[in-house]
């Protein structure tokens, strides 16, 4: 922890503590009242979080230990089965293959998002202000496009029968793409999903990194350049250390989003294109839980997912905190 924060905290304390309370002796009653004020202020938020998050989460945990199918759903209470759901999920080859596929998928998506997002942010710094405005507007438009609409447009463009992409590629003589099937194999299906997700995620990364770049001291860059450092060297030794905490947050958020992603793959590949050999975790949990009406198993899978994502996040948060403390 940096020593610069100690006076900060004192200053803050001085500001929020009314002057009279420092002069007079306070009764124990008053002291207790004062110290509980922050807790009272936090209470509404806690209540809201409890209602929308803690209770459903508690229900999810309970259901994951129960046999809870359509029969139980109608009677609204499950039968206790202990660890059966977890045992059956962990003993299912489909779960492990789906997990493996999803990890690879997440790495590819997050990697591409971070790489392209950062590169575009670096580009933003260098271009003229007109181009910067145009580029930013474009990014914001992408960011504000609702997922479902984006998927639909993407699907039309890559359509087998009437897609404009096939038409365009054929017209510019890049080969005969007439009736090219972009969703022919499991790999190509997931690659199309990746393209869509990365496209949609770049604006957030770019704009955040661009904001972070404003904090890079220009005199340091200048000094490094005078000392003869090339652009790569400047990025590695000057820009990157400043951006590191931001990049870590963005990476861990992206991992959380991409690991459990559902809307884009489900809508783009369409319900009829999914089978046990191409599930992603989000799709798998939907099929097992909702489509098969086995809510107990579905709950077990989503809790396992939560655990995996939490573990991944812990690693990144630790990294981040270390960076903070070192800085």
């Amino acid at each position: 922890m940096s020593s610069s924060q100690v006076p900060d905290r004192a200053a803050v304390a001085a500001e929020i503590t009314p002057p009279w309370s420092r002069r007079r002796r306070r009764s124990p009653w008053q002291r207790a009242g004062n110290s509980s004020v922050p807790y009272l202020l936090v209470l509404p938020v806690l209540a809201a979080i409890g209602a929308v998050l803690a209770y459903p989460l508690y229900k999810l945990v309970v259901i994951s230990f129960q046999k809870y199918g359509l029969f139980e759903l109608i009677r609204r209470h499950g039968t206790w089965v202990g660890l059966d759901n977890y045992r059956s999920v962990l003993g299912d080859g489909v779960f492990w293959r789906t997990l493996e596929r999803t990890v690879v998928f997440t790495i590819a998506n997050v990697g591409l998002t971070m790489l392209l997002g950062t590169l575009i942010a670096l580009l933003l710094v260098r271009v003229s202000s007109l181009v910067r405005v145009l580029l930013t507007v474009g990014l914001v438009l992408v960011w504000s496009m609702p997922v479902v609409v984006a998927v639909q447009v993407w699907y039309w463009m890559t359509n087998y029968q009437n897609g404009v992409l096939n038409y365009f590629l054929t017209e510019v003589h890049l080969g005969d793409y007439f009736q090219h099937d972009w969703y022919a194999t499991n790999f190509s299906k997931l690659a199309m999903v990746t393209a869509l997700i990365v496209w949609g995620a770049i604006p957030f990364v770019t704009i955040t990194v661009y904001a972070g770049l404003a904090q890079v001291p220009s005199e340091l860059v200048e000094a490094a350049e005078i000392d003869g450092a090339g652009p790569l060297r400047v990025f590695r030794d000057v820009t990157f250390p400043v951006l590191k905490p931001i990049l870590l947050i963005l990476t861990s958020l992206s991992i959380i989003w991409d690991f459990g992603v559902f809307a884009q793959p489900w809508l783009l590949v369409t319900a009829s294109g999914w089978n046990a050999s191409n599930y992603l975790m989000g799709v798998y949990v939907y099929i097992e839980g909702y489509a098969h009406s086995d809510f107990g198993r579905g709950a077990a899978i989503s809790l396992l997912m939560l655990l995996i994502v939490a573990l991944l996040s812990v690693f990144y948060v630790r990294q981040m905190v270390k960076t903070e403390e070192a800085g």
């Binding site: 109608i74 087998y160 009736q179 947050i249 459990g260 489509a291 948060v317």
Partner: protein, 413 residues
């Protein structure tokens, strides 16, 4: 320090989103109203019939409002599950006949056996629809209407290709498809458009050659797509597809809808539901379109088609008396006749006429009546098999054997 807090808040928020939650919105019925879930087929095809039945019902039950909510096939079960959990299920729900078993087995519907005789034509109900609504000897649904599958074709293109009358055998249809292809050289033209993974069409070939999807043996389900007869059917499907269709081998019959391609003038003929000509051709070629029965490989016979249909059921917790009364009005002889006039098959044999739809229904097939069948559909076992066969990734026998094993394990699961 600050970054740490922000990070923690962000992480908590993002983690919360990964834990999915179901939503349910429909209104709870009271004695002064009943909620009816019908499919969008009714909304697009016969909203007038629904409206007139509702006004009749509201006249007979003063003070009771009918609240019709239109649903989509692909989503209505997920929504229905949510309302069952929330205790606010509709009073009447339209169910596909292939969807009934799972819900009857789970006790989602009220037993209406005692009211059976009060429904019009109930002693002559189509056996396929009545069987789909019966579980353990009890009746849980009322047949609404059925639909068979026919071939819609372009009379002008057939004439231009020198085909004077619709084919009456699969071999003849194959020859006709080649003739159509020779006369129509537009890129992407399909003499007979079939989406590759359209299992409703493909299974017709299987049943035509004497095969079936699964059968019961000593109280257990056994997948039978790898039987020699089923393999002959699948091989015939592959051969016919290769001659006749330029549709995708991986995209289902909703992406794109065959009638969209048809309306673009790129289709000579297409098997599918009867009602496409009335409602879905965007006003194109409606005059130059006619329908015939999909021919069997045995000359003169129709190929067995999937007999789709709907039942009307009363979920648990619904107002049974009012729901049953509404269903009575909605399935009376006059209403069924009106549905027939729209190109559907009415719910009882004594109402049957001689339309192409009804002739096609003479030979039909139906899915195995297991409560786990839905999982075969959700797992896309048949569609994946067809894609593997058509793309040549696996031989017919390999793909059929793999699918059959899957079906056996899912149906017995």
């Amino acid at each position: 320090m600050r970054v740490r807090y922000i990070a923690a808040v962000c992480l908590v928020a993002a983690l919360a989103v990964t834990v999915s939650a179901a939503t349910a919105a429909p209104s709870r019925s009271t004695a002064s109203s009943i909620t009816v879930w019908l499919q969008t087929d009714a909304q697009n095809g016969w909203p007038d019939i629904v409206a007139s039945v509702n006004s009749q019902f509201e006249k007979d039950h003063p003070g009771v409002k009918v609240n019709v909510q239109y649903q989509q096939w692909t989503q209505h079960l997920t929504k229905f599950d949510a309302t069952l959990a929330g205790g606010n299920a509709p009073d009447v729900i339209e169910m596909g006949n292939s969807e009934m078993t799972k819900y009857m087995a789970a006790g989602a519907f009220q037993d209406i056996t005692s009211s059976k005789s009060s429904f019009a034509n109930s002693s002559n109900w189509l056996s396929g629809l009545q069987k789909a609504a019966t579980y353990g000897g009890h009746l849980y649904g009322v047949p609404y209407y059925a639909g068979s599958r026919v071939v819609t074709y372009r009379t002008d293109l057939f004439k231009k290709a020198g085909i004077s009358k619709p084919p009456t055998s699969l071999a003849q249809f194959t020859v006709d498809a080649k003739k159509l292809a020779a006369k129509n050289t537009a890129k992407g033209f399909s003499p007979v458009y079939i989406a590759g993974p359209d299992w409703y069409v493909a299974m017709g070939f299987v049943y035509d050659y004497g095969g079936q999807i699964a059968k019961t043996f000593k109280g257990k389900w056994v997948g039978t797509l790898n039987s020699p007869k089923a393999i002959a059917g699948l091989t015939a499907y592959k051969n016919f597809f290769n001659v006749a269709s330029h549709a995708s081998k991986t995209q289902d019959e909703a992406h794109p809808f065959p009638y969209t391609v048809y309306a673009q003038g790129l289709v000579g003929a297409m098997p599918g539901p009867t009602w496409v000509t009335c409602c879905n051709l965007l006003g194109k070629y409606t005059k130059a379109s006619a329908q015939f029965v999909m021919p069997s490989h045995t000359a003169g016979k129709p190929m067995p088609g999937f007999l789709g249909g709907s039942d009307l059921a009363v979920p648990v917790g619904a107002n049974k008396a009012l729901a049953v009364d509404w269903i009575k009005d909605f399935t009376d002889t006059a209403t069924e006749k009106a549905l027939q006039a729209k190109g559907n098959i009415p719910n009882a044999t004594n109402l049957l006429g001689d339309s192409v739809n009804e002739r096609a229904a003479a030979r039909s097939w139906f899915i195995p009546s297991s409560k786990n069948w839905v999982n075969v559909e959700n797992g896309n076992i048949l569609r994946s098999m067809l894609t593997q066969i058509l793309t040549g990734k696996l031989t017919v026998k390999q793909a059929a054997t793999f699918a059959s094993q899957n079906i056996t394990s899912v149906l017995n699961g």
